[in-house]
Symmetry: C2
């Protein structure tokens, strides 16, 4: 069993504490409920509540399952509880103010909790959590690089063998998922945003990648049906001279990379290749700028300002699908901090991991463009998901 | 494209309104944000806010994607908005009290919303939503029966062909998922509970089904790793004379059934078959009682009181995994209202759908027992997921 080492847990906790102290030097306590945050800080994904005191350590009160937490976790302060009120048998008094992760906590869970604790002043620690999780250690990068390698093999070697004229989009998605699992992809795809959902990714033949969708990304998707607007469509059949848009997450030991590759069954009009090439250039331009000290908002504005105006219609999404970012952080969730977008003004630091995804919708054809996952370094972004960024003919 | 018919959308809305009026005759407005609830009432899974007035109809304000909502939905009152404040361009005044689904709504989403609306009195409509969704129409049952049929074929015909001594638990899970998708399973598995997560289900060789887990069910699971405690374990290899616990959801057009089947590679000790048989008898006893008018809490207490005391250790879970229910509602989520448990005192009505899952942990062997999905009828529960409830030898 792979246990998150104690040094690594301490690194995460210390970074969170120092980040919180920059945001609010007077903070005293943060309380976390979300299982991904709990895994991040404790190394076990059990159900419970994590108290992080500025000056009194971190303490995980485990409802279910304490025995598993003990087996899996190198985290020191584990306590069994049956309900929130059992926490008082370990700690008697608490400050009046508390920080919580408001982005992911349902109202009812906090109400049930605060019935006992009666915190008066409730603030959000989302930014501190997001920033902390954005900066990856070598331990984490090891998993991300492995996910990137599975991604590279899948997109460069496996997909061209699977795609065949006459198959349905759903059939292709099914076989792609099967092969990714065979190579070590861990299965579930995790999204942080409320109402966000991915099942592997957006897999589209032809104009389905221009189809409207509710997900906050540039690529469209038709999906299985209105109740399952995910994965692949059973009624869309691959034809000759069709464009195929394959945007998937790949997970290894909890960590994700994100990658989009475009394929074609035969020749597409020359302008399609030209517009694709332009997207690859934009990706590479963003990647160049993925250096410590640069801010995501400046990168966004600089790169967008360099794009000729006539290229903008359809860029980053078909009509109302259009989004206002060029990339996003990635780690234990596919959609992490920071986005390469306006409003993200904290400078990048070394070892952030960012998926860059310039794409363009072409009416009558589908989405061209590219997505790869990059490591922020002094030399600019290093691609972790393979180097073949062309449209691959199958 | 399968569109939810207008009559069906009206049925759902009217049942919700009449249920709310029973709970609070003075209610005026409920506001829903969760995409599964939005799909349920509108037939499209777009991002936005649904206002349901007691006396002024239901209105869906769609942020992303309005065009798709128009294409997919038979719901009448669709309005495009870019932000919550745009709702004021359609409606000028609102009551002071609002009902929201507190179980699934993150604090930050409601704070962003209420900055504009400034509702003073915020109550939970979770029970009314849950009750409404629990009562299925023929339209919905059609999909659930189809999921049940895919489930039956998978568990009775496919799994015995896949299982082979020497394969890993993860390999088996991968091939099982692949075959279920081939038969029409729609992919994603949706859980309503906070921090709940399933990737197909709990797939366990031998004692892995006794392994501690955080999920609120009787069956244990080891899963891929501490970060992905789901699906199947890559290091557990199927041996001769081993018990296999296969608990999966199966989805069709958004609707789920739940089913567990036990397999064995060769002979197990006689007491294992005896304890399994006892679980099947308990399932059938619960099913007999799944009639309109009976309350889930009474069914739970009656059936539990009939079980001999010496059978109870390990029943419904290994040690700290033990849960206090015998079944759960199922529909657009795998975990729906009602549970067959204490505290669920509203009588069953015809066409509720309940998964019944009496299971028992046997030390050194794994979990025996059964799960099937039943339709509540005047004659008792009708099984929708197949009739072979024995341990299947492979």
């Amino acid at each position: 069993m792979i246990k998150t080492p104690k040094d690594e847990l301490n690194r995460r906790l210390n970074l969170f504490i120092s980040t919180m102290s920059k945001i609010d030097p007077e903070w005293e306590l943060a309380v976390l409920f979300d299982k991904i945050n709990i895994f991040y800080f404790t190394g076990t994904m059990q159900n419970g509540v994590l108290f992080i005191f500025k000056n009194n350590g971190a303490h995980f009160f485990v409802r279910r399952n304490f025995d598993r937490a003990k087996e899996e976790s190198e985290f020191e302060n584990l306590y069994p509880v049956k309900s929130f009120k059992d926490i008082f048998s370990y700690f008697k008094s608490f400050p009046e103010s508390v920080y919580i992760a408001k982005e992911t906590l349902p109202i009812i869970v906090f109400e049930r909790f605060n019935k006992y604790f009666n915190f008066k002043n409730i603030k959000s620690c989302d930014l501190a959590i997001n920033y902390t999780r954005a900066v990856k250690s070598d331990y984490e990068l090891n998993f991300i690089k492995k996910a990137g390698e599975i991604h590279r093999i899948t997109k460069e070697e496996i997909v061209p063998k699977i795609l065949a004229v006459g198959m349905s989009e759903f059939e292709f998605a099914r076989e792609l998922l099967n092969q990714m699992l065979r190579l070590g992809h861990h299965g579930v795809t995790r999204i942080r945003s409320y109402n966000g959902e991915l099942y592997l990714g957006n897999i589209c033949f032809g104009e389905n990648s221009n189809y409207y969708n509710s997900f906050d990304g540039p690529g469209g998707i038709k999906g299985v049906c209105p109740a399952v607007p995910l994965f692949g469509n059973p009624d869309t059949i691959l034809e000759k001279n069709m464009l195929i848009h394959v945007d998937t997450a790949c997970g290894y030991m909890g960590y994700y990379t994100d990658k989009t590759q475009i394929y074609a069954t035969g020749n597409l009009p020359q302008h399609v290749y030209d517009e694709h090439k332009k997207c690859v250039e934009i990706q590479n331009r963003v990647a160049e700028l993925l250096k410590p000290g640069n801010t995501p908002s400046e990168i966004y504005e600089k790169v967008m300002s360099e794009i000729e105006e006539e290229f903008l219609p359809g860029f980053m999404g078909y009509k109302s699908n259009q989004v206002k970012f060029l990339g996003h952080g990635i780690g234990l969730h596919v959609d992490e901090y920071p986005a390469i977008a306006k409003g993200f003004d904290i400078p990048l630091v070394e070892n952030m991991v960012i998926a860059v995804e310039p794409k363009k919708s072409i009416v009558g054809i589908g989405m061209v463009g590219i997505e790869n996952t990059f490591l922020v370094t002094e030399k600019g972004g290093i691609c972790l998901t393979g180097d073949n960024h062309e449209i691959i003919n199958v």
